[in-house]
Subunit: 174 residues, 2 copies
């Protein structure tokens, strides 16, 4: 079975979307999507609030209640029958997120087992046949086929093949 | 820099030793080390108490207060200057252990960063030049040089090169 490495944030879970909805409701201010280009969606928030946003990101519970990216459950459930799937999340930067991420995954994707989850800091030690990730820094060192999952912060990247949504992933993998 | 994958339990942390000390104090019963052979130190405990031992292993806090394996801090501190070290722990089977393991690591090994920790279920997707682990199931799929770190449960294994203690690791790597 071919192995597919799937990222969590901005690929199957939506911390950026959750943060933006919350922020708009709390502050009524707009997000500058152009400032996200370069890799960090935090930079789309007004400068004076970025520390607060980061703090919220670090808090216990934040990653437990995230929205699921559209169609990811349906497509990954089917992919899980045909591929060896690993969900690999660069999570150790956020110690409070570890258990939240695990519980979130098994709530929404109950067909995955604990054997299929990897919480790490750096993805360069991961090997597989395919990787789906929204960050070039994670794809760069990968030795298999790489797909950049489209997100507001990576729209300027031109040198990677893209997956724009999970229906496209289904067209490729199923 | 060559990459060294180092296991946590029974290699730098000592959950088995901690559990045995606690058990002897609580129950005054002996451990049968022969029954551990085959890979699981839980089997060394009397059958009627294995569920309780497993429950204690799953409880929050257990992995936070473990003894450190002798000389591991000193040797890994020096290795960390000359190799790319990753601490890789099969931890997702124990959701309550995730944050405990992270805090434990940074308390005792403050020279490691969050980028060097991997908490996973299955180590077969990890690649590197060297792996030090007490379980054959983790070493089996590894594509680099493998070292079996000696532990009571693996004394019957003959087909792997061994590291018996961290002084021996220093002799090999430093």
């Amino acid at each position: 079975m071919n192995r597919v490495i799937v990222d969590m944030d901005e690929v199957i879970a939506d911390p950026m979307g959750e943060m933006i909805s919350w922020y708009k409701e709390q502050y009524g201010l707009e997000i500058d999507y152009n400032k996200m280009l370069g890799g960090s969606w935090l930079k789309g928030f007004p400068v004076q609030h970025q520390d607060m946003i980061r703090e919220r990101l670090m808090s216990e519970g934040f990653f437990r209640k995230l929205p699921v990216i559209k169609d990811s459950v349906r497509v990954l459930k089917e992919m899980n029958e045909r591929y060896e799937i690993f969900i690999v999340s660069a999570a150790t930067e956020f110690p409070n997120s570890l258990k939240d991420k695990m519980e979130w995954l098994f709530e929404h994707f109950p067909f995955f087992s604990w054997r299929q989850l990897v919480l790490c800091g750096d993805k360069k030690l991961v090997q597989g046949d395919y990787m789906i990730d929204d960050h070039v820094r994670n794809l760069r060192h990968f030795n298999g086929k790489k797909y950049l999952y489209t997100s507001a912060h990576n729209l300027d990247i031109t040198d990677y093949e893209r997956i724009n949504n999970w229906q496209e992933a289904a067209d490729i993998f199923l």
